[in-house]
Protein backbone atom coordinates (compact mmCIF):
# COMPACT_ATOMS: atom_id res chain seq x y z
CA UNK A 1 0.00 0.00 0.00
CA UNK A 2 1.89 3.04 -1.16
CA UNK A 3 0.80 6.63 -1.38
CA UNK A 4 2.06 9.05 -3.98
CA UNK A 5 4.45 10.61 -1.47
CA UNK A 6 6.21 7.45 -0.45
CA UNK A 7 6.51 6.40 -4.08
CA UNK A 8 8.27 9.66 -4.87
CA UNK A 9 10.70 9.25 -2.01
CA UNK A 10 11.48 5.59 -2.25
CA UNK A 11 11.46 5.11 -5.97
CA UNK A 12 12.93 7.07 -8.82
CA UNK A 13 11.48 10.53 -8.00
CA UNK A 14 13.74 11.51 -5.11
CA UNK A 15 16.91 10.00 -6.52
CA UNK A 16 16.44 11.72 -9.85
CA UNK A 17 16.00 15.01 -8.06
CA UNK A 18 19.13 14.34 -5.98
CA UNK A 19 21.03 13.63 -9.14
CA UNK A 20 19.93 16.90 -10.68
CA UNK A 21 20.94 18.78 -7.53
CA UNK A 22 24.38 17.21 -7.45
CA UNK A 23 24.90 17.66 -11.17
CA UNK A 24 23.82 21.32 -11.07
CA UNK A 25 25.99 22.12 -8.07
CA UNK A 26 28.88 20.28 -9.70
CA UNK A 27 28.54 22.25 -12.93
CA UNK A 28 28.33 25.49 -10.98
CA UNK A 29 31.51 24.47 -9.16
CA UNK A 30 33.37 23.75 -12.38
CA UNK A 31 32.17 27.06 -13.77
CA UNK A 32 33.31 28.92 -10.67
CA UNK A 33 36.78 27.37 -10.85
CA UNK A 34 36.96 28.19 -14.58
CA UNK A 35 35.99 31.79 -13.90
CA UNK A 36 38.63 31.99 -11.16
CA UNK A 37 41.53 31.21 -13.47
CA UNK A 38 41.64 34.55 -15.36
CA UNK A 39 41.69 36.32 -12.02
CA UNK A 40 44.74 34.35 -10.93
CA UNK A 41 46.54 34.33 -14.27
CA UNK A 42 46.28 38.11 -14.65
CA UNK A 43 48.94 38.30 -11.95
CA UNK A 44 51.49 36.40 -14.07
CA UNK A 45 53.97 38.38 -16.23
CA UNK A 46 52.05 40.29 -18.92
CA UNK A 47 52.83 40.13 -22.65
CA UNK A 48 54.84 43.37 -22.64
CA UNK A 49 56.84 42.19 -19.63
CA UNK A 50 57.61 38.98 -21.46
CA UNK A 51 58.52 40.94 -24.60
CA UNK A 52 61.32 42.64 -22.70
CA UNK A 53 62.70 39.28 -21.73
CA UNK A 54 65.87 39.50 -23.87
CA UNK A 55 68.56 42.18 -24.30
CA UNK A 56 71.57 42.60 -26.58
CA UNK A 57 74.85 43.82 -25.11
CA UNK A 58 77.98 45.21 -26.76
CA UNK A 59 80.87 43.35 -25.16
CA UNK A 60 83.71 44.70 -27.31
CA UNK A 61 84.57 47.38 -24.76
CA UNK A 62 84.96 45.11 -21.75
CA UNK A 63 88.71 44.86 -21.04
CA UNK A 64 90.33 41.65 -19.92
CA UNK A 65 89.98 41.31 -16.16
CA UNK A 66 87.03 43.70 -15.87
CA UNK A 67 83.30 43.21 -15.78
CA UNK A 68 80.10 45.10 -16.44
CA UNK A 69 76.64 44.90 -14.97
CA UNK A 70 73.55 45.21 -17.13
CA UNK A 71 69.87 45.04 -16.28
CA UNK A 72 67.91 42.08 -17.62
CA UNK A 73 64.35 41.33 -16.53
CA UNK A 74 64.84 43.87 -13.73
CA UNK A 75 67.77 41.95 -12.34
CA UNK A 76 71.47 42.70 -12.59
CA UNK A 77 73.52 40.44 -14.88
CA UNK A 78 77.31 40.35 -14.53
CA UNK A 79 79.36 39.92 -17.71
CA UNK A 80 82.98 39.25 -16.86
CA UNK A 81 85.92 39.12 -19.24
CA UNK A 82 88.07 36.70 -17.30
CA UNK A 83 91.87 36.65 -17.42
CA UNK A 84 93.62 33.44 -18.41
CA UNK A 85 94.64 32.92 -14.77
CA UNK A 86 91.07 33.29 -13.57
CA UNK A 87 89.86 30.75 -16.11
CA UNK A 88 92.65 28.36 -15.13
CA UNK A 89 91.81 28.84 -11.47
CA UNK A 90 88.13 28.13 -12.06
CA UNK A 91 88.88 25.01 -14.10
CA UNK A 92 91.43 23.68 -11.61
CA UNK A 93 88.99 23.42 -8.69
CA UNK A 94 88.02 19.84 -7.91
CA UNK A 95 84.28 19.22 -7.74
CA UNK A 96 84.45 17.75 -4.25
CA UNK A 97 85.48 21.17 -2.92
CA UNK A 98 82.24 22.71 -4.11
CA UNK A 99 78.98 23.22 -2.26
CA UNK A 100 76.89 23.21 -5.45
CA UNK A 101 78.93 20.92 -7.69
CA UNK A 102 79.34 22.24 -11.21
CA UNK A 103 82.44 22.36 -13.40
CA UNK A 104 83.52 25.61 -15.02
CA UNK A 105 82.85 24.12 -18.50
CA UNK A 106 79.19 23.69 -17.63
CA UNK A 107 78.94 27.38 -16.80
CA UNK A 108 80.44 28.91 -19.97
CA UNK A 109 80.02 28.48 -23.73
CA UNK A 110 82.52 26.14 -25.39
CA UNK A 111 85.39 28.13 -26.89
CA UNK A 112 84.27 31.28 -25.10
CA UNK A 113 85.50 30.38 -21.63
CA UNK A 114 86.91 33.88 -21.10
CA UNK A 115 83.32 35.17 -20.87
CA UNK A 116 81.40 34.45 -17.71
CA UNK A 117 77.77 35.56 -17.66
CA UNK A 118 75.82 35.21 -14.39
CA UNK A 119 72.71 36.69 -12.81
CA UNK A 120 73.95 39.06 -10.10
CA UNK A 121 71.54 37.93 -7.45
CA UNK A 122 72.88 36.15 -4.38
CA UNK A 123 71.13 32.80 -4.06
CA UNK A 124 70.74 33.31 -0.32
CA UNK A 125 68.27 36.17 0.06
CA UNK A 126 68.54 38.05 -3.21
CA UNK A 127 71.16 40.74 -2.53
CA UNK A 128 73.51 41.97 -5.26
CA UNK A 129 77.05 40.71 -4.58
CA UNK A 130 80.08 43.02 -4.86
CA UNK A 131 83.01 42.34 -7.19
CA UNK A 132 81.96 43.71 -10.56
CA UNK A 133 83.35 47.23 -10.22
CA UNK A 134 87.12 47.60 -9.96
CA UNK A 135 88.10 48.14 -6.36
CA UNK A 136 85.20 46.07 -5.02
CA UNK A 137 85.80 43.39 -2.44
CA UNK A 138 85.86 40.18 -4.48
CA UNK A 139 85.88 37.85 -1.51
CA UNK A 140 88.28 35.06 -0.62
CA UNK A 141 87.94 33.28 -3.97
CA UNK A 142 88.45 36.24 -6.28
CA UNK A 143 84.94 36.24 -7.73
CA UNK A 144 82.15 38.03 -5.88
CA UNK A 145 81.35 38.74 -2.27
CA UNK A 146 77.86 39.31 -0.92
CA UNK A 147 77.97 41.91 1.87
CA UNK A 148 74.56 40.99 3.30
CA UNK A 149 75.38 37.68 4.91
CA UNK A 150 78.93 36.99 3.75
CA UNK A 151 78.69 34.58 0.80
CA UNK A 152 81.89 34.14 -1.23
CA UNK A 153 81.75 33.22 -4.94
CA UNK A 154 84.71 32.12 -7.07
CA UNK A 155 85.80 33.24 -10.57
CA UNK A 156 83.16 30.92 -12.01
CA UNK A 157 80.42 32.45 -9.84
CA UNK A 158 80.19 29.30 -7.77
CA UNK A 159 79.38 29.44 -4.07
CA UNK A 160 82.44 28.55 -1.99
CA UNK A 161 81.76 29.86 1.49
CA UNK A 162 78.83 31.41 3.37
CA UNK A 163 75.09 30.79 3.70
CA UNK A 164 74.07 30.83 0.01
CA UNK A 165 72.93 27.38 -1.12
CA UNK A 166 73.57 27.60 -4.87
CA UNK A 167 75.94 29.00 -7.49
CA UNK A 168 75.10 32.29 -9.18
CA UNK A 169 72.59 31.43 -11.89
CA UNK A 170 73.81 31.34 -15.49
CA UNK A 171 71.10 32.89 -17.72
CA UNK A 172 70.32 31.73 -21.22
CA UNK A 173 72.60 33.62 -23.63
CA UNK A 174 74.23 33.40 -27.05
CA UNK A 175 77.01 35.19 -28.94
CA UNK A 176 75.44 36.81 -32.01
CA UNK A 177 78.88 37.90 -33.31
CA UNK A 178 82.27 38.85 -31.88
CA UNK A 179 81.00 41.93 -30.15
CA UNK A 180 77.36 41.23 -29.37
CA UNK A 181 75.89 39.06 -26.68
CA UNK A 182 72.18 38.31 -26.46
CA UNK A 183 70.82 37.50 -23.03
CA UNK A 184 67.47 35.77 -22.68
Amino acid sequence: MSTLETTNQEDEGATRRDFIHVAAAGMAGVGAVGALWPFIDQMNPAADTLALASVEVDISKIDVGSAIVIKWRGKPVFIRHRTAEEVAEAEAVSLSDLIDQQSDEERVKTGESKWLVVVGVCTHLGCVPLGTKSGDDRGEFGGWFCPCHGSHYDTSGRIRKGPAPKNLEVPEYAFLNDSTLKIG
Partner: protein, 422 residues
Protein backbone atom coordinates in the same frame (compact mmCIF):
# COMPACT_ATOMS: atom_id res chain seq x y z
CA UNK B 1 25.28 36.72 26.28
CA UNK B 2 23.27 39.39 27.97
CA UNK B 3 19.66 40.07 26.95
CA UNK B 4 19.18 42.27 23.89
CA UNK B 5 17.71 45.57 25.04
CA UNK B 6 15.72 47.51 22.48
CA UNK B 7 16.00 51.30 22.43
CA UNK B 8 12.73 53.26 22.12
CA UNK B 9 13.66 56.85 21.18
CA UNK B 10 11.33 59.65 22.32
CA UNK B 11 11.79 61.58 19.08
CA UNK B 12 9.21 60.33 16.57
CA UNK B 13 11.42 60.60 13.49
CA UNK B 14 14.29 58.79 15.20
CA UNK B 15 11.82 56.20 16.47
CA UNK B 16 10.47 55.69 12.96
CA UNK B 17 13.99 55.06 11.69
CA UNK B 18 14.95 52.88 14.67
CA UNK B 19 12.00 50.57 14.03
CA UNK B 20 13.22 50.01 10.49
CA UNK B 21 16.94 49.81 11.22
CA UNK B 22 17.80 49.46 14.93
CA UNK B 23 21.18 51.20 14.86
CA UNK B 24 20.78 52.76 18.30
CA UNK B 25 19.87 49.40 19.81
CA UNK B 26 22.97 47.90 18.27
CA UNK B 27 25.25 50.56 19.75
CA UNK B 28 23.40 50.32 23.06
CA UNK B 29 23.99 46.61 23.26
CA UNK B 30 27.63 46.57 22.10
CA UNK B 31 29.22 49.59 23.78
CA UNK B 32 26.27 51.27 25.49
CA UNK B 33 24.46 51.39 28.83
CA UNK B 34 22.84 48.04 27.98
CA UNK B 35 26.20 46.31 27.74
CA UNK B 36 26.97 44.73 31.12
CA UNK B 37 30.73 44.39 31.48
CA UNK B 38 32.89 42.87 34.25
CA UNK B 39 33.58 45.56 36.84
CA UNK B 40 37.22 44.64 37.35
CA UNK B 41 38.80 45.27 33.92
CA UNK B 42 42.28 46.75 34.27
CA UNK B 43 44.14 49.02 31.85
CA UNK B 44 45.28 46.07 29.74
CA UNK B 45 41.66 45.90 28.57
CA UNK B 46 42.03 49.33 26.92
CA UNK B 47 43.99 48.09 23.95
CA UNK B 48 41.17 46.47 22.00
CA UNK B 49 39.29 49.70 21.49
CA UNK B 50 42.61 51.49 20.98
CA UNK B 51 43.50 49.12 18.16
CA UNK B 52 40.07 49.83 16.66
CA UNK B 53 40.74 53.57 16.84
CA UNK B 54 44.13 53.10 15.19
CA UNK B 55 42.46 51.19 12.36
CA UNK B 56 40.14 54.16 11.80
CA UNK B 57 43.08 56.62 11.84
CA UNK B 58 45.02 54.46 9.37
CA UNK B 59 42.09 54.22 6.99
CA UNK B 60 41.35 57.96 7.07
CA UNK B 61 44.98 59.05 6.67
CA UNK B 62 45.59 56.32 4.08
CA UNK B 63 42.63 57.28 1.90
CA UNK B 64 43.89 60.86 1.90
CA UNK B 65 47.46 59.80 1.00
CA UNK B 66 46.11 57.74 -1.88
CA UNK B 67 44.71 60.96 -3.37
CA UNK B 68 48.27 62.21 -3.89
CA UNK B 69 50.24 59.02 -4.39
CA UNK B 70 51.20 57.52 -7.76
CA UNK B 71 51.68 53.75 -7.79
CA UNK B 72 54.19 53.65 -10.66
CA UNK B 73 57.88 52.95 -10.20
CA UNK B 74 58.93 56.14 -11.96
CA UNK B 75 56.67 58.36 -9.86
CA UNK B 76 56.12 56.65 -6.51
CA UNK B 77 59.16 57.97 -4.65
CA UNK B 78 58.73 61.50 -6.00
CA UNK B 79 55.01 61.56 -5.29
CA UNK B 80 55.74 60.70 -1.65
CA UNK B 81 58.33 63.49 -1.50
CA UNK B 82 55.75 65.83 -3.03
CA UNK B 83 53.32 64.84 -0.29
CA UNK B 84 56.02 65.70 2.24
CA UNK B 85 57.02 69.05 0.72
CA UNK B 86 54.18 70.49 -1.31
CA UNK B 87 50.81 69.01 -0.38
CA UNK B 88 49.11 71.05 2.35
CA UNK B 89 49.67 69.22 5.63
CA UNK B 90 50.90 66.27 3.57
CA UNK B 91 53.87 65.82 5.93
CA UNK B 92 51.52 65.58 8.89
CA UNK B 93 49.20 63.06 7.29
CA UNK B 94 52.06 60.89 6.05
CA UNK B 95 53.81 60.93 9.43
CA UNK B 96 50.48 60.06 11.09
CA UNK B 97 50.12 57.11 8.74
CA UNK B 98 53.72 55.87 9.11
CA UNK B 99 53.87 56.23 12.90
CA UNK B 100 50.24 55.19 13.17
CA UNK B 101 51.21 51.80 11.72
CA UNK B 102 53.77 51.34 14.48
CA UNK B 103 51.32 52.39 17.17
CA UNK B 104 48.64 50.13 15.72
CA UNK B 105 51.09 47.27 16.19
CA UNK B 106 51.98 48.41 19.72
CA UNK B 107 48.29 48.38 20.67
CA UNK B 108 47.73 45.01 19.03
CA UNK B 109 50.81 43.39 20.58
CA UNK B 110 49.73 44.49 24.06
CA UNK B 111 46.20 43.26 23.27
CA UNK B 112 47.57 39.85 22.17
CA UNK B 113 49.88 39.41 25.16
CA UNK B 114 47.05 40.51 27.47
CA UNK B 115 45.15 37.58 26.01
CA UNK B 116 48.10 35.21 26.42
CA UNK B 117 48.50 36.08 30.11
CA UNK B 118 44.85 36.18 31.12
CA UNK B 119 43.90 33.11 29.08
CA UNK B 120 41.54 34.99 26.76
CA UNK B 121 41.85 32.15 24.25
CA UNK B 122 40.17 29.59 26.50
CA UNK B 123 36.59 28.34 26.26
CA UNK B 124 34.19 29.83 25.39
CA UNK B 125 36.31 32.43 23.57
CA UNK B 126 38.27 30.25 21.12
CA UNK B 127 36.65 31.66 17.98
CA UNK B 128 36.97 35.21 19.30
CA UNK B 129 40.71 34.56 19.79
CA UNK B 130 41.19 32.89 16.41
CA UNK B 131 39.52 35.78 14.61
CA UNK B 132 42.05 38.00 16.38
CA UNK B 133 44.90 35.91 14.94
CA UNK B 134 43.37 36.31 11.48
CA UNK B 135 43.25 40.08 12.00
CA UNK B 136 46.92 40.07 13.01
CA UNK B 137 47.94 38.11 9.89
CA UNK B 138 45.97 40.53 7.69
CA UNK B 139 47.64 43.45 9.47
CA UNK B 140 51.08 42.01 8.77
CA UNK B 141 50.29 41.61 5.07
CA UNK B 142 48.87 45.14 4.91
CA UNK B 143 51.82 46.72 6.72
CA UNK B 144 54.34 44.86 4.57
CA UNK B 145 52.73 46.01 1.34
CA UNK B 146 52.33 49.55 2.65
CA UNK B 147 56.04 49.77 3.40
CA UNK B 148 56.81 48.92 -0.24
CA UNK B 149 54.78 51.85 -1.61
CA UNK B 150 57.27 54.73 -1.01
CA UNK B 151 59.62 52.77 -3.32
CA UNK B 152 62.76 53.49 -1.34
CA UNK B 153 65.70 51.14 -1.01
CA UNK B 154 64.23 49.34 2.02
CA UNK B 155 60.85 49.12 0.27
CA UNK B 156 62.39 47.44 -2.74
CA UNK B 157 64.79 45.10 -0.99
CA UNK B 158 62.37 44.22 1.79
CA UNK B 159 59.85 43.27 -0.90
CA UNK B 160 62.51 41.25 -2.74
CA UNK B 161 63.58 39.29 0.33
CA UNK B 162 60.07 38.61 1.63
CA UNK B 163 58.55 37.61 -1.72
CA UNK B 164 61.61 35.41 -2.36
CA UNK B 165 60.64 33.42 0.73
CA UNK B 166 57.97 31.73 -1.36
CA UNK B 167 60.66 30.37 -3.70
CA UNK B 168 61.46 27.95 -0.87
CA UNK B 169 58.26 26.02 -1.64
CA UNK B 170 59.23 22.86 -3.57
CA UNK B 171 58.38 22.54 -7.29
CA UNK B 172 55.96 25.49 -7.62
CA UNK B 173 57.99 28.02 -5.58
CA UNK B 174 59.53 29.87 -8.52
CA UNK B 175 56.19 30.06 -10.34
CA UNK B 176 54.50 31.45 -7.24
CA UNK B 177 57.17 34.14 -6.90
CA UNK B 178 56.68 35.14 -10.56
CA UNK B 179 52.95 35.22 -9.98
CA UNK B 180 53.43 37.53 -6.98
CA UNK B 181 55.85 39.79 -8.90
CA UNK B 182 54.01 39.85 -12.21
CA UNK B 183 57.44 39.70 -13.81
CA UNK B 184 60.95 38.47 -13.19
CA UNK B 185 61.77 40.75 -10.29
CA UNK B 186 60.02 43.19 -7.98
CA UNK B 187 58.99 45.89 -10.44
CA UNK B 188 56.14 48.10 -11.62
CA UNK B 189 53.48 45.33 -11.71
CA UNK B 190 54.44 44.37 -8.15
CA UNK B 191 54.15 47.95 -6.90
CA UNK B 192 50.80 48.34 -8.60
CA UNK B 193 49.19 45.24 -7.11
CA UNK B 194 50.65 45.96 -3.67
CA UNK B 195 48.96 49.37 -3.76
CA UNK B 196 45.64 47.82 -4.77
CA UNK B 197 45.84 45.23 -2.00
CA UNK B 198 47.13 47.72 0.56
CA UNK B 199 43.98 49.75 -0.09
CA UNK B 200 41.72 46.71 0.02
CA UNK B 201 42.95 44.78 3.06
CA UNK B 202 42.10 47.37 5.75
CA UNK B 203 38.45 46.96 4.78
CA UNK B 204 38.79 43.21 4.99
CA UNK B 205 40.31 43.76 8.44
CA UNK B 206 37.32 45.94 9.32
CA UNK B 207 35.04 43.06 8.36
CA UNK B 208 36.90 40.59 10.53
CA UNK B 209 36.95 43.14 13.37
CA UNK B 210 33.15 43.23 13.19
CA UNK B 211 33.08 39.43 13.53
CA UNK B 212 35.61 39.70 16.38
CA UNK B 213 33.35 42.13 18.25
CA UNK B 214 30.30 40.01 17.48
CA UNK B 215 32.06 36.98 18.99
CA UNK B 216 32.96 39.11 22.00
CA UNK B 217 29.30 40.07 22.40
CA UNK B 218 28.36 36.35 22.41
CA UNK B 219 30.94 35.23 24.99
CA UNK B 220 31.21 38.57 26.85
CA UNK B 221 34.49 40.17 27.91
CA UNK B 222 36.89 38.15 29.99
CA UNK B 223 38.40 39.75 33.05
CA UNK B 224 41.65 39.77 35.07
CA UNK B 225 40.36 37.16 37.54
CA UNK B 226 39.41 34.83 34.73
CA UNK B 227 36.21 33.68 36.44
CA UNK B 228 32.73 33.83 34.98
CA UNK B 229 30.31 36.62 35.77
CA UNK B 230 27.73 35.28 38.24
CA UNK B 231 25.42 38.14 38.96
CA UNK B 232 24.68 41.76 38.19
CA UNK B 233 26.91 42.68 41.13
CA UNK B 234 29.91 41.54 39.08
CA UNK B 235 29.10 43.94 36.26
CA UNK B 236 28.87 47.60 35.37
CA UNK B 237 27.46 49.09 32.17
CA UNK B 238 30.00 49.65 29.38
CA UNK B 239 28.78 53.22 29.03
CA UNK B 240 29.71 55.43 30.79
CA UNK B 241 32.25 53.44 32.80
CA UNK B 242 34.41 51.87 30.11
CA UNK B 243 33.77 54.47 27.41
CA UNK B 244 35.32 57.03 29.77
CA UNK B 245 38.16 54.71 30.76
CA UNK B 246 38.89 53.87 27.13
CA UNK B 247 38.75 57.56 26.22
CA UNK B 248 41.24 58.40 28.96
CA UNK B 249 43.58 55.64 27.77
CA UNK B 250 43.23 56.86 24.18
CA UNK B 251 44.23 60.35 25.35
CA UNK B 252 47.44 59.02 26.91
CA UNK B 253 48.19 56.81 23.90
CA UNK B 254 47.64 59.60 21.37
CA UNK B 255 49.77 61.94 23.47
CA UNK B 256 52.70 59.55 22.96
CA UNK B 257 51.83 59.05 19.28
CA UNK B 258 51.79 62.83 18.82
CA UNK B 259 55.23 63.07 20.44
CA UNK B 260 56.54 60.71 17.77
CA UNK B 261 54.71 62.43 14.89
CA UNK B 262 55.93 65.90 15.81
CA UNK B 263 59.32 65.37 17.44
CA UNK B 264 60.79 62.12 16.11
CA UNK B 265 58.74 61.14 13.06
CA UNK B 266 61.48 58.96 11.56
CA UNK B 267 62.70 57.30 14.74
CA UNK B 268 60.88 54.06 13.97
CA UNK B 269 61.73 54.02 10.26
CA UNK B 270 64.94 53.22 8.40
CA UNK B 271 66.94 56.08 6.83
CA UNK B 272 67.71 53.96 3.72
CA UNK B 273 64.08 54.25 2.70
CA UNK B 274 64.77 57.88 1.77
CA UNK B 275 67.06 56.58 -1.00
CA UNK B 276 65.08 55.80 -4.19
CA UNK B 277 64.82 52.09 -5.01
CA UNK B 278 67.72 50.77 -7.09
CA UNK B 279 67.52 47.20 -8.30
CA UNK B 280 71.28 47.08 -8.93
CA UNK B 281 72.49 48.12 -5.47
CA UNK B 282 71.69 46.28 -2.27
CA UNK B 283 71.70 48.25 0.99
CA UNK B 284 74.31 47.29 3.59
CA UNK B 285 71.76 45.36 5.55
CA UNK B 286 68.12 44.69 4.90
CA UNK B 287 66.11 45.20 8.07
CA UNK B 288 62.34 44.88 8.35
CA UNK B 289 60.20 47.25 10.37
CA UNK B 290 60.50 46.74 14.13
CA UNK B 291 57.15 44.96 14.43
CA UNK B 292 58.32 42.15 12.15
CA UNK B 293 61.70 41.66 13.80
CA UNK B 294 60.84 38.78 16.20
CA UNK B 295 59.43 36.70 13.35
CA UNK B 296 62.29 37.69 11.03
CA UNK B 297 64.72 36.52 13.74
CA UNK B 298 62.94 33.14 13.86
CA UNK B 299 63.19 32.86 10.06
CA UNK B 300 66.91 33.51 10.14
CA UNK B 301 67.62 31.34 13.16
CA UNK B 302 66.32 28.22 11.46
CA UNK B 303 69.20 27.81 9.00
CA UNK B 304 69.54 24.04 9.26
CA UNK B 305 67.66 21.32 7.35
CA UNK B 306 65.20 18.88 8.88
CA UNK B 307 66.32 15.27 8.71
CA UNK B 308 69.21 13.04 9.70
CA UNK B 309 72.52 14.60 8.62
CA UNK B 310 74.14 12.61 5.83
CA UNK B 311 71.22 10.19 5.61
CA UNK B 312 68.03 11.93 4.66
CA UNK B 313 66.90 15.52 4.24
CA UNK B 314 63.16 15.93 4.64
CA UNK B 315 63.01 19.72 4.41
CA UNK B 316 65.85 21.97 3.27
CA UNK B 317 67.05 24.82 5.48
CA UNK B 318 65.39 27.64 3.53
CA UNK B 319 61.98 25.95 3.53
CA UNK B 320 62.22 24.96 7.19
CA UNK B 321 63.01 28.56 8.10
CA UNK B 322 59.97 29.82 6.23
CA UNK B 323 57.77 27.16 7.84
CA UNK B 324 59.10 28.10 11.29
CA UNK B 325 58.29 31.75 10.71
CA UNK B 326 54.70 31.10 9.66
CA UNK B 327 54.28 28.46 12.37
CA UNK B 328 55.38 30.95 15.03
CA UNK B 329 52.14 32.85 14.43
CA UNK B 330 49.85 30.03 13.34
CA UNK B 331 50.59 28.19 16.60
CA UNK B 332 48.43 30.84 18.30
CA UNK B 333 45.42 29.29 16.56
CA UNK B 334 46.06 26.04 18.43
CA UNK B 335 46.45 27.71 21.85
CA UNK B 336 43.02 26.74 23.22
CA UNK B 337 44.02 23.09 22.80
CA UNK B 338 47.64 23.41 23.91
CA UNK B 339 46.82 25.12 27.20
CA UNK B 340 44.05 23.06 28.77
CA UNK B 341 44.41 24.42 32.31
CA UNK B 342 40.95 25.27 33.65
CA UNK B 343 42.33 28.39 35.29
CA UNK B 344 42.33 31.27 32.80
CA UNK B 345 44.12 34.08 34.59
CA UNK B 346 47.90 33.95 35.03
CA UNK B 347 47.36 35.62 38.41
CA UNK B 348 46.39 32.22 39.84
CA UNK B 349 49.07 30.22 38.06
CA UNK B 350 52.31 30.59 40.03
CA UNK B 351 54.53 28.71 37.57
CA UNK B 352 52.86 29.81 34.33
CA UNK B 353 53.51 33.39 35.39
CA UNK B 354 57.28 32.95 35.17
CA UNK B 355 57.25 31.11 31.87
CA UNK B 356 54.98 33.81 30.47
CA UNK B 357 57.26 36.59 31.74
CA UNK B 358 60.17 34.89 30.04
CA UNK B 359 58.18 34.63 26.81
CA UNK B 360 57.78 38.41 26.85
CA UNK B 361 61.52 38.83 27.47
CA UNK B 362 62.18 36.28 24.72
CA UNK B 363 60.09 38.35 22.26
CA UNK B 364 62.21 41.43 23.02
CA UNK B 365 65.40 39.37 22.63
CA UNK B 366 64.16 38.07 19.27
CA UNK B 367 63.28 41.61 18.27
CA UNK B 368 66.80 42.76 19.07
CA UNK B 369 68.36 39.76 17.32
CA UNK B 370 66.28 40.41 14.19
CA UNK B 371 67.89 43.82 13.83
CA UNK B 372 71.48 42.53 14.14
CA UNK B 373 73.70 41.33 11.34
CA UNK B 374 73.84 37.54 11.60
CA UNK B 375 77.50 37.36 12.53
CA UNK B 376 79.46 35.98 15.48
CA UNK B 377 77.21 34.59 18.18
CA UNK B 378 74.00 36.24 16.95
CA UNK B 379 72.75 33.15 15.03
CA UNK B 380 73.42 30.96 18.08
CA UNK B 381 71.46 33.27 20.41
CA UNK B 382 68.74 33.28 17.78
CA UNK B 383 68.48 29.50 17.95
CA UNK B 384 68.06 29.54 21.74
CA UNK B 385 65.47 32.32 21.61
CA UNK B 386 63.57 30.48 18.87
CA UNK B 387 63.76 27.23 20.82
CA UNK B 388 62.21 28.84 23.89
CA UNK B 389 59.49 30.48 21.80
CA UNK B 390 58.28 27.15 20.43
CA UNK B 391 58.92 25.29 23.68
CA UNK B 392 56.57 27.70 25.46
CA UNK B 393 53.68 26.64 23.24
CA UNK B 394 54.46 22.99 22.57
CA UNK B 395 56.04 21.90 25.87
CA UNK B 396 55.52 24.39 28.69
CA UNK B 397 51.80 25.01 28.24
CA UNK B 398 50.73 21.34 27.80
CA UNK B 399 52.90 20.23 30.74
CA UNK B 400 51.77 23.05 33.03
CA UNK B 401 48.14 22.28 32.17
CA UNK B 402 48.61 18.90 33.83
CA UNK B 403 51.22 19.48 36.53
CA UNK B 404 50.73 22.99 37.85
CA UNK B 405 49.13 23.53 41.27
CA UNK B 406 47.00 26.60 40.79
CA UNK B 407 45.93 29.01 43.52
CA UNK B 408 42.33 28.99 44.78
CA UNK B 409 39.99 31.16 42.70
CA UNK B 410 37.77 33.77 44.36
CA UNK B 411 34.04 32.99 44.67
CA UNK B 412 32.99 35.86 42.49
CA UNK B 413 34.28 39.04 40.89
CA UNK B 414 32.34 41.25 43.29
CA UNK B 415 33.54 39.41 46.41
CA UNK B 416 37.13 39.71 45.23
CA UNK B 417 37.17 43.36 44.19
CA UNK B 418 34.60 45.11 46.36
CA UNK B 419 35.52 46.22 49.87
CA UNK B 420 33.38 44.42 52.44
CA UNK B 421 30.53 46.56 53.78
CA UNK B 422 31.37 48.47 56.99
Amino acid sequence: MAEWEVVKPKNKAVGWFEERLPVLSLVNNVVGPATPTPRNLNYFWNFGSLAGLMLVIQIISGVVLAMHYAATTGLAFDSVERIMRDVNYGWLIRYMHANGASFFFIAVYIHIFRGLYFGSYKAPREVLWMLGVVIFLLMMATAFMGYVLPWGQMSFWGATVITSLFSAIPVVGESIVQLLWGGFSVDNPTLNRFFSLHYLLPFVITGVVILHIWAKKISDSGNPLGIEVQSGADQIPFHPFYTIKDAFGAGVFFFILAAFIFFMPNALGHPDNYIPADSLVTPDSIVPEWYFLPFYAILRSVDFPLGIPGVIEILDAKLLGVIAMFASILVWLALPWLDTSKVRSGNFRPMFKWFFAFLVVDMFILMWLGAQKPEGNIPLYGKFATLYYFAYFFVVLPVLSRKEKTLPLPDSISSAVLKPAE
